[in-house]
Symmetry: D2
Subunit: 139 residues, 4 copies
């Protein structure tokens, strides 16, 4: 997306606020890490469910864009279904994703997230719509 | 939850980081508002999908806890399925939720989010597990 | 869809096999009934989860097609998320659905199902893709 | 489950009506096949979305029961989220599933379905609640 970057840098946008560190983006595989800190917890002291959903959404979106941008398209989230498997209250969460479907109009991703001990803590199924950059909205 | 409050205040936790302003919490109805700002956008300039999921998760969790806390239980998110209907890039998003199911072990919530013009921009279905406070984890 | 009907009649297709009786189809509202019988149960004696998903899928698809067929389009299911709230083992299940979003490329429906006593037993969120009839596949 | 079988045989129940042939059931892996026939299609001539959901639901439920029955528990579907990736109109659909989470109160399964040429045609995420057999309902 170089040279054609959208208006906000990652650090200015939501990924920056939550502290998402993306470590790999390709149409075949995406990964990221996030360090757990108080600001990411819910009041009961475990990582907020919205953080997992955020990580998955960012990765699926970027992996899709990595493939379709050069064809004049962009990826926009259609739905995000995240299941919470195990509470995390400290350490680092690692996310890895792969596309289950790479269609002309939609991509479907699986994202798995693990805690510092490698235990699965959340899984997301994210559907991304592929739209022309010239007319991304409305859906 | 007064007097038995968990360790973090809302402003210290993720709700505070995203700027969620909760306006109503009861077992029958929950609502909140969030002001859109650059830090909540994804790089393409529209509200990040993770923000909608966060709003829904917080509301469903609080609505459940409002009912079950006095019985010695707590609510923990099991899954969050958010559909993105219309991109939002400015203004205020308002969320309103109602429980579809209030079971002994799970609650299911519908949360609808609208933009400043009252147009539906996202909908979430959130399932919350009800667990004894003495032994909330593991699932 | 008269005069342009697809190859199979409803009674020859899956709706016929499960015994779905559609009672209303419009772009604003869809409804149906299904009589519970042994063949629709799982072995533990309660209505099989696949039956609820089937009812919701049929209704959302038909409601979308009712609107888009005359514009040369067809509706194809993208995803079906059904939550099971209360087991049913006898009587009649009634389903009612309404569109939450009617976009150019996707429609999102909520379908609620109730038992003979009017208690909510399942809810579905179904996303239908709108595609040109001339080229409905591949996605 | 031998010797303690529930009231209906598989052939009398919904699995029999749809023609599901289960080929493997264990707590680590489940699989099945289904031969596509007109009665399983929707009127546009492609496999009905409810059939995929049914296959996934049956497999996830059986895989869970295979583990928890001997401990006096049973598995009951909480939610089924099926994404439709590629239309199928003939041949055999093969489903394979694995548990992503095996908790004390919920199991989460991933089920992937492929067509006769091995192409992924649908994926399901199914959550099963584990309940005491003596008191499986209400939830």
């Amino acid at each position: 997306m170089q040279g054609e970057a959208p208006g906000l840098t990652e650090s200015q946008a939501f990924d920056g606020l939550v502290g998402l560190e993306i470590t790999e983006v390709s149409p075949e595989r995406v990964s990221a890490q996030i360090a757990v800190r108080d600001e990411l917890l819910q009041t009961f002291g475990v990582l907020h469910g919205g953080v997992y959903a955020t990580v998955a959404e960012s990765l699926a979106s970027r992996g899709t864009v990595a493939a379709v941008w050069s064809e004049g398209s962009v990826g926009l989230g259609l739905s995000n279904h995240t299941s919470f498997l195990r509470p995390v209250s400290a350490g680092t969460v690692t996310a890895v994703g792969r596309p289950l479907h790479r269609g002309r109009t939609t991509w479907v991703w699986d994202i798995e997230m693990t805690d510092s001990e490698g235990r699965r803590c959340a899984v997301s199924r994210v559907t991304i719509a592929v739209r022309p950059r010239s007319e991304p909205h409305p859906r």
